[in-house]
Amino acid sequence: MTQGITPSQTVGPFLAIGLPWPDGPFVVPPGTPGALMISGQIRDGAGTPVPDALVETWQADPDSRFDHPDDPRGAAPPAVPGFRGFGRSATDPDGNYQISTVRPGSLPSPDGGIEAPHLNVSVFARGLLDRVVTRIYFPDDAEANAADPVLAAIDDPARRATLIAVAVPDRPENEFRFDIWLQGERETVFFDV
């Protein structure tokens, strides 16, 4: 029996009524050793910040595992206590979001390669009739990123660079910036998943 899939619609301007959670930005509990911060700004095609967006992240734990029954390697309880894998942050009036997490491990890819550590990202906003999907990779994983099959499929280095977070100079180990440009010259790479 095949059922018609329910179509997407925009979250509209009032998503903050229903979606943000107080603990949403915390993929790991506050105070987790080795926690890192990923923050950034969402901008539209005119460079204007987007104050009515929601960013969601999903990732493996530091041991490259998911606590999920569909992972053929088996569901693994998180390597870090309280690790949820999932983060959610509405943007503030200046279009900024923020996620506190730990660095994911790299992953075996079905084609036999290895995916570099990454977070999957969904962005919802007024004006987006469906979510857009992107990925966050880390700047200090140069070797792993070079071998990553998803990054390798993007020919233009400038486009590829939109998927690499930027280390914050004073805190390169644990603070990263990842801005998302929905449109325009610096448009972020978005995926069809």
């Binding site: 329910t6 619609q9 009524i17 493996a60 004006g127």
Partner: protein
């Protein structure tokens, strides 16, 4: 970073696959919806092979939703104004399998068509007894049920004399990143349907119709609330033999 060798080195990784929802979702670039003009990406989307990050997803449990969260009419000193309704149905995947224990989040305007949000300046009354947010988990058969009030239609600035048909926003996770869906549920026979660029951004009329709940006398409770039924279908987890892109 030594984490890269912690999975079993056991040959081929066989993963479930979620076939694309062809011709279902609205195109991001839908200029009749003005807010999309500066926000929809202009470049072609890059195909993302479905790996471990895509075929897994957050399995958010009961700690996210109490029984009280499914009733939007309670939790305040008084009852909200408006037509009390029950909205119920099942969450399925496109192969007809129920999606159990999955979180559903809803939000909506009040009976007057006003959202409890600082940015909404529609001159219709706020209701001190209605916030318009709810949550629940589907049961073991994929069923959900909310009690709420019927939201009002409201004007917006998309074009001259623009009004949104009454709707409830629904957010669903399913069991995989590929299944994540946020959408809107509409009510039967709304005269605003032909005029609404968000509803009509869905190219296929059959797909559009799947966003409209059905009035359901069997879910209606005597002397209490009108019932509406609405099933939500997420992407299926197995490849089907034919992918015609047609409905049913």
């Amino acid at each position: 970073m030594t984490a890269s060798n912690t999975w079993p080195a056991s040959g081929e990784l066989v993963l479930p696959h979620y076939p694309a929802a062809v011709g279902v979702h609205p195109p991001l670039d839908s200029p009749a919806y003005k807010s999309s003009v500066l926000r929809a990406p202009k470049r072609a989307l890059v195909p993302l092979p479905q790996g471990l990050t895509e075929i897994t997803g957050p399995l958010l449990g009961a700690e996210r939703a109490t029984a009280a969260d499914a009733d939007l009419t309670t939790g305040h000193p008084g009852e909200p104004l408006g037509e009390r309704i029950i909205v119920t149905g099942r969450v399925l995947d496109s192969d007809g399998r129920p999606v159990p224990d999955t979180l559903i989040e809803v939000w909506q305007a009040n009976a007057s068509g006003r959202y409890a949000h600082g940015v909404d300046d529609h001159p219709a009354p706020l209701d001190p007894n209605f916030d318009g947010a709810g949550r629940c988990l589907t049961d073991s058969l994929g069923r959900y049920r909310f009690v709420t009030i019927k939201p009002g239609a409201y004007p917006w600035r998309n074009h001259h004399n623009a009004w949104r048909p009454a709707h409830i926003h629904f957010s669903l996770f399913g069991r995989a990143f590929t299944q994540r869906l946020i959408t809107q549920m509409y009510f039967p026979a709304d005269p605003l349907f032909p005029l609404d660029p968000i509803f009509n951004s869905i190219p296929d009329p059959g797909a559009r119709a799947r966003l409209i709940a059905a009035f359901d006398i069997d879910q209606t409770e005597p002397d209490w609330a009108l019932g509406y039924s609405w099933d939500i279908v997420l992407r299926g987890r197995s490849a089907t033999v034919f992918e015609t892109g047609e409905d049913e």
